[in-house]
């Protein structure tokens, strides 16, 4: 299990002022969960994910995996970025197999595993294409397959579908729900869409900015239904979904002046 304990990050801005990006944030990412961090722009979501990934060191606090502190990136935490980070000089198959190559897995074996993952994300026909010949949604799917290839315990996703049009986005959400149900990974997922948070999260952390902290926590299980039926429509109109959505909306929008000033 992954635990975040009192995670605090302070940045020094260019003008010398201190930015309290994250303030004593604590939560767990239990097995078989999708923990979603939800909040307006600038509330420290990416900072939190980068800290878990090991890209960002904490000013205070700890990240623990099964009780052991981590402070470096590692293959146990796969990352899917908002902007895709595929290598343009490698084809889709080599991109997915990259982590296995780093581990020294022989070519045939890593291609075999990569092909399985491409099948999982529905891109078997594109393995020889360079990434720049794929659409944004397809690239994001390659990114997910690549992150899964090293068989991480946990998948960290920073607004992975934020740049996609709403149709593609819904397809990707469905894909993630299915992949999660199949692979049983723990997922930490960042979004600023309340509906996406509720559709995908088993645990939802609502964050607020300045300093970045968790202001509300919810549990939900719409994602299980979503994974089983593959249909978001009925979930969106479910009474409990609607009432949670409105409740979270009111929390996020309460300190409106506060958020807006920061989002600029």
């Amino acid at each position: 299990m992954l635990s975040i304990r009192n995670a605090t990050v302070k940045f020094e801005a260019a003008d010398g002022t201190e930015i309290h990006a994250l303030d004593r944030v604590s939560f767990d990412i239990p097995p078989d969960s999708i923990v979603v961090a939800l909040g307006a722009s600038g509330c420290g979501k990416s900072t939190l994910l980068n800290a878990i990934a090991g890209f960002q060191s904490l000013t205070e606090g700890q990240i623990l995996i099964d009780g052991l502190p981590v402070d470096k990136p590692g293959g146990d935490r796969g990352v899917v970025f908002q902007k895709d980070t595929l290598l343009p000089w490698s084809n889709v198959l080599d991109n997915v197999a990259l982590g296995l190559r780093y581990r020294g897995v022989p070519k045939l074996e890593r291609y075999r595993q990569a092909r399985e993952l491409l099948q999982l994300v529905g891109l078997s026909d594109f393995e020889t294409k360079p990434p720049y010949e794929l659409s944004g949604g397809m690239r994001q799917r390659v990114g997910i397959a690549r992150a899964l290839a090293t068989d991480p315990k946990i998948l960290l996703m920073d607004e992975p579908f934020g740049a996609l049009d709403s149709l593609t986005r819904e397809n990707m959400q469905q894909l993630l729900a299915t992949v999660w149900a199949k692979t049983r990974k723990q997922v930490f997922f960042i979004t600023h869409s309340i509906e996406e948070a509720l559709a995908l999260g088993t645990h939802i952390l609502v964050m607020s900015p300045r300093p970045g902290r968790i202001v509300a926590r919810y549990e939900a299980d719409f994602v299980r239904t979503f994974a089983a039926t593959g249909d978001l429509g009925p979930i969106l109109s479910h009474p409990r979904f609607v009432s949670l959505r409105e409740e979270i909306r009111s929390i996020i929008h309460t300190p409106a002046s506060h958020n807006e000033r920061h989002a600029a």
Partner: protein, 281 residues
Amino acid sequence: MSAVIEPAVAISEVKRQRTQQPRRIKKTHGTAVISFATLIGLLALWIIATKYHFASALFLPSPSDVAVQAVAVASEGYANGTLLDHILASLGRIGVALAFGIGLGIPVGLLMGLNRWAKGILGVPIDIYWGLPPLAYLPLMIIWLGIGEASKIVLLSLAAFAPICFAAQAGVRSVPQERINAARSLGATSYQVFTSIIFPSALPEIFTGVRIAIGATLSTLVAAELIAAQSGVGYMIMSAANFLATDVVFVGLIVIAIFAFAFATGMRFLENRIAPWKGKL
């Protein structure tokens, strides 16, 4: 039910991109045709200008004179050597200088991009000499190294080194941090991050640097040969100018233009082979 998504949509998207490509290729063909027509036009102007004696042959020899002279220079030679001798002398100098410039510029530039200390220490001397016109320190090179090949090779190598070194540095600095982070979270060691991410990411910039270096080397070469050499295309041009042999001067200039064109074409070819993704992602 089991969710895996609209391949139809996906495939049609790829098709659309594919059908866009031929149109772009056609467009570049169009440009090539226009460029070629311009070249023919210039040649025609030249022929007309000499045919109707707009300028005396001393200033503007006719294309046929130049062609005849080219054959003569190639077979009988001019200024202690045949055209081929001069070309080989010049190409040899460029080749050696580029080999030094590339062989040292890339590793030093990469190191300076990666390491603060290397940048701090090496940056200053490189900035200083790169700011100087090469011909300004050619006399110093000659005092130090003599009038022979060594002074010219060092001068040209310095001219080639700096742009490649700067480009390699810029290439390293332009690697998106997310790409490096992605590799590290996939378990890459520092060495693997360098070989699989940083170096290939920097390649397009390095190519640009090499292209600039070729231009710098070529102009420095000709200038150096004009001043201090006993062979080479630049020397041939200078000797011809002393005797007002304008047609031989033209032969030399055309040879240099062909050098420049061949290098540019060769670089473009290499770049398309080695870094075809440039500007794509």
